[in-house]
C-alpha cells in the first residue's frame, strides 16, 4: 500500500481529482449506452463515441471558464456537451431523436448544441466548423472580452482547406483560439500516414505564427497540466495556438463501423489498450492514495447506474410532434409547407 501523496504532490486538489474520475467513468458508461441505443435501433444515422479519448474533454474542459469560454467540435461531441453541463437525459434524448432532446430531436448525435453552456456544437462537415470557431474567437475580440475559444478537430479534419484559411486569419488578427487536433491516428478507415503528408500535425500552425505543440492525450495528469498552461497562455496573450493531442479511439469510427481490422491490426489495438486513459488515471489515483480500487469500483457502479437511468428516462421521451418539422427553419416565418 503506497504512502498517500501530500496534497502538494498532486496535480489538482484531491476532491477535483476524484470528480474528474467520476466524470471520465460516467462519460465512458454514457458512450456505451449511446452505442447500445444505436444497436437497439433507438438511435440512427451516424453516431461516434469518445471512448478512449475522455481526457480531451474531461481534462481540457475542466480548465476553461465553463459557460464563458466558447467550445465547438465536430460530430464526436457527446463528451463535450456533458462536460460543459448539458443535462445527460436531454443529451441522450437528442441522440435518440426525441422531443426531450437538446434540440428536440432535430440535430441528433452529431449535432449537439447547448448555448446556455456556450457549447456551439456538434458539426458534421469535416473541417467546416473550424471556420465557425474562428468566428467565435473573432466575436470575443470584437467585443474586447477575454473569452478563449476551444475548437476540437480530428486528424483527418486537419487537412481541410478551410482550417488553413481560418488559421491564417486567426494568426493575422491574433485571435484567442486553441485548435485541439484530436489525433487518434485514423480518419475513419484511413491511417494518419495515409492522409497527412507529414504526420506531425502540430507543424500546421507554424506557417501562421500560431503557438504549436504536440501533447499527450492519454495520461490525464499530463493533460491537466498542459491544458491549464495552454489555456491560461492563450487568454493572456490572445494568440492562436494549434495543439496536437495524441489520442486513440478504442472503438470503431462510428457505431456502424464493425470491422476495424480493415484498417488496423489487433496487435496495434492490444498495444494501445495498455495506454487506455482510464486505466492510466486509475493507476495514478491508486498509486497516490487518492482512491482505492474498492472506492473506484463503487464509483464505477454508481456512474453506471446513473447512465442506465439516463438511458431509460431518455427512452421515455416522446418523439417530436409532426408539425415541428416546420418550426425553427427561420426565426420569424414558416417555410412554404407541403410536398
Amino acid at each position: 500500500m503506497p504512502k498517500p501523496a501530500t496534497a502538494s504532490d498532486l496535480v489538482a486538489p484531491k476532491e477535483d481529482l476524484i470528480r474528474y474520475h467520476r466524470e471520465m467513468v460516467y462519460l465512458r458508461h454514457f458512450e456505451e449506452k449511446s452505442n447500445f441505443a444505436y444497436r437497439q435501433g433507438k438511435a440512427g444515422g451516424y453516431l461516434h463515441v469518445y471512448i478512449g479519448m475522455e481526457p480531451l474533454a474531461v481534462g481540457w474542459l475542466n480548465n476553461i471558464r465553463k459557460g464563458y469560454d466558447y467550445v465547438i467540435t465536430a460530430y464526436r461531441d457527446h463528451g463535450h456537451a456533458l462536460q460543459l453541463g448539458s443535462d445527460p437525459t436531454a443529451t441522450m434524448a437528442e441522440i435518440m431523436g426525441r422531443s426531450g432532446g437538446l434540440s428536440r430531436g432535430k440535430g441528433g448525435s452529431m449535432h449537439l448544441y447547448d448555448i446556455a453552456n456556450q457549447f456551439y456544437g456538434g458539426w458534421g462537415i469535416v473541417g467546416g466548423h473550424t471556420a465557425l470557431a474562428g468566428g467565435l474567437a473573432l466575436a470575443a475580440k470584437y467585443r474586447k472580452e477575454d473569452r478563449v475559444t476551444l475548437c476540437y478537430l480530428g486528424d483527418g479534419a486537419s487537412n481541410a482547406g478551410v482550417f488553413f484559411e481560418t488559421m491564417n486569419m486567426c494568426g493575422l488578427w491574433d485571435l484567442p483560439i486553441i485548435f485541439i487536433i484530436e489525433n487518434n491516428l485514423y480518419a475513419m478507415g484511413t491511417a494518419l500516414e495515409r492522409h497527412a503528408a507529414d504526420p506531425e500535425l502540430y507543424k500546421r500552425g507554424f506557417p501562421f505564427k500560431h503557438d504549436y505543440e504536440r501533447v499527450d492525450g492519454h495520461d490525464m495528469v499530463t493533460v491537466l497540466k498542459d491544458s491549464k498552461r495552454i489555456i491560461d497562455r492563450c487568454r493572456e496573450t490572445s494568440k492562436p495556438c494549434v495543439v496536437e493531442a495524441m489520442t486513440w479511439r478504442t472503438v470503431g469510427h462510428g457505431a456502424a463501423d464493425n470491422d476495424r481490422q480493415l484498417y488496423r491490426t489487433k496487435a496495434e489495438e492490444d498495444e494501445m489498450a495498455k495506454r487506455d486513459c482510464l486505466y492510466l488515471y486509475e493507476k495514478y489515483l491508486e498509486d497516490n492514495g487518492v482512491l482505492t480500487r474498492a472506492q473506484m469500483d463503487q464509483i464505477d457502479a454508481e456512474e453506471l447506474e446513473k447512465a442506465e437511468k439516463v438511458y431509460d428516462d431518455a427512452s421515455e421521451s416522446p418523439h417530436p410532434e409532426i408539425e415541428e418539422v416546420y418550426s425553427n427553419v427561420y426565426t420569424d416565418m414558416e417555410p412554404e409547407k407541403g410536398h
Partner: protein
C-alpha cells in the same frame, strides 16, 4: 416622405452606414473593402469613417511601415471566401451582425458549403437555440467581359435553400430599404446586386428607419395585357420591353419580384389573374434557373387564369464567353422579351 437622388451604389453604402451607426454589432468584412473601397467602390469611405483611431482597430498595424491597423468594423480579409463566410457565421452565432461583401457572387460558390450547409441550417439544427444574423452581399451576374468564371447569377441556388432569405433589388430605393431590412433580419440573407445597376440613379427615401419587408413584390409598371415577372436588372430590361410593346398596343405589367425567398406569389398571381398571360425573365442560365420555379408555380396555381402558356426568357445555356459580341448574345435584352411575349401569343 422626403427623398434624395442617389445611385444604387450610394444607396447600399448609405444603408451600411446607417445600420452601422444604429447598431454597434453590425460590421462589414470582405476583400479590399477598406482603403481600397471595394472593387465596385461600394464601401468607399467606410474605413475612414469607422476605423480612425487605434481604439477602432481589431488589431494593431501588422507591420511598422503600414500605418493603419486592421479595422474592427471594416475588416479587410485575405482571399479566402470559405473562411470568411465561416468566420462571419461563427461571429453571427454569438449575436454580432456581419455583412460580408463578396467581391463577386461568383466567388460565393467557394463558400457554398459554409452558406448552405452551415449558416442556413444552424437555426434548425439547434431547434432555435442559435440564430445567424448574417448578410452576404455583392455583385451577381455578368458585367462586361469578365469571362466564364466571373459572371454567374447564383441567386437561384440560394433561393432553393430553406433557412436562407434571398433578395435582388432593382432600384436604389429598394437596395437601401432591403439591405437595411437584411441587416436587421435574424436569419442569413443573400443580397445580390447586379453590377449593371451600381451607377443607376433614383430617388431614395430619407427616413433612417425606412426598411422594405421581404416577401413583397413591387408592381414596377401597371399593365393589363401580360405580366412580365422579373427581378434585379431584368426589371429595367422588362420596362424597356414594355415601352416598346406599348407602341404596338400591348400594355404589359412589370412585376419586380425583388424577394425570391420568401416569394410573394400573391402579387404575382393577382397580376396574372388580371392579364391572363405571363413571361418570367431572368439573367441566369435559362434551364434550371429560379425563373423555372416561378413559371412552374404560375402554371399550376393560375392554370384557369392563363390564356397562353407561361413564357420564359433566360440567359443562354452556355458558360459566359469573353468576346463582347458573344457575351451580349448570352444576356437577355428587351428584344428577347418581346420575342417571347409574341411567341406565347
Amino acid at each position: 416622405m422626403s427623398s434624395t437622388t442617389m445611385t444604387y451604389r450610394e444607396a447600399i453604402r448609405l444603408a451600411l452606414m446607417e445600420e452601422m451607426d444604429r447598431d454597434e454589432n453590425v460590421f462589414i468584412m470582405g476583400e479590399d473593402i477598406g482603403k481600397y473601397k471595394g472593387t465596385f467602390r461600394v464601401t468607399d469611405g467606410l474605413f475612414e469613417k469607422y476605423c480612425q483611431n487605434t481604439s477602432d482597430w481589431l488589431h494593431e498595424p501588422p507591420h511598422p511601415e503600414i500605418q493603419d491597423g486592421v479595422g474592427r468594423r471594416v475588416i479587410d480579409t485575405p482571399i479566402t471566401e470559405p473562411g470568411i463566410v465561416g468566420m462571419a457565421t461563427g461571429a453571427a452565432m454569438t449575436g454580432l451582425r456581419p455583412v460580408v461583401e463578396m467581391m463577386t457572387m461568383s466567388f460565393a460558390i467557394l463558400a457554398l458549403d459554409q452558406i448552405i450547409n452551415h449558416a442556413a441550417k444552424i437555426h434548425y439544427m439547434t431547434d432555435g437555440q442559435i440564430s445567424v444574423p448574417l448578410v452576404i452581399r455583392g455583385p451577381g451576374g455578368a458585367a462586361n467581359q469578365l469571362s466564364a468564371q466571373h459572371s454567374h447569377s447564383i441567386e437561384g441556388w440560394f433561393a432553393h435553400v430553406p433557412g436562407l432569405k434571398v433578395v435582388a433589388p432593382a432600384t436604389p430605393d429598394c437596395a437601401k430599404g432591403m439591405l437595411k431590412a437584411a441587416i436587421r433580419d435574424d436569419n442569413p440573407v443573400i443580397f445580390t446586386e447586379n453590377p449593371g445597376l451600381y451607377a443607376m440613379k433614383g430617388e431614395v427615401t430619407d427616413d433612417v428607419d425606412y426598411t422594405i419587408p421581404f416577401g413583397k413584390a413591387r408592381i414596377a409598371r401597371v399593365g393589363s395585357d401580360i405580366s412580365l415577372i422579373c427581378y434585379s436588372r431584368m426589371v429595367h430590361v422588362c420596362l424597356a420591353a414594355a415601352d416598346k410593346l406599348a407602341e404596338e398596343g400591348i400594355n404589359a405589367e412589370v412585376v419586380d419580384v425583388r424577394s425570391l425567398l420568401p416569394l410573394d406569389t400573391e402579387t404575382i398571381y393577382n397580376s396574372v389573374a388580371k392579364t391572363h398571360r405571363a413571361v418570367v425573365v431572368y439573367e441566369d442560365w435559362k434551364s434550371g434557373g429560379f425563373g423555372a420555379e416561378i413559371a412552374a408555380r404560375i402554371g399550376q396555381d393560375c392554370f384557369d387564369d392563363l390564356d397562353a402558356p407561361v413564357g420564359r426568357v433566360g440567359g443562354l445555356n452556355v458558360p459566359t464567353p469573353y468576346s463582347r459580341v458573344l457575351e451580349l448574345q448570352c444576356i437577355p435584352n428587351e428584344h428577347d422579351v418581346i420575342a417571347e411575349v409574341k411567341k406565347i401569343g
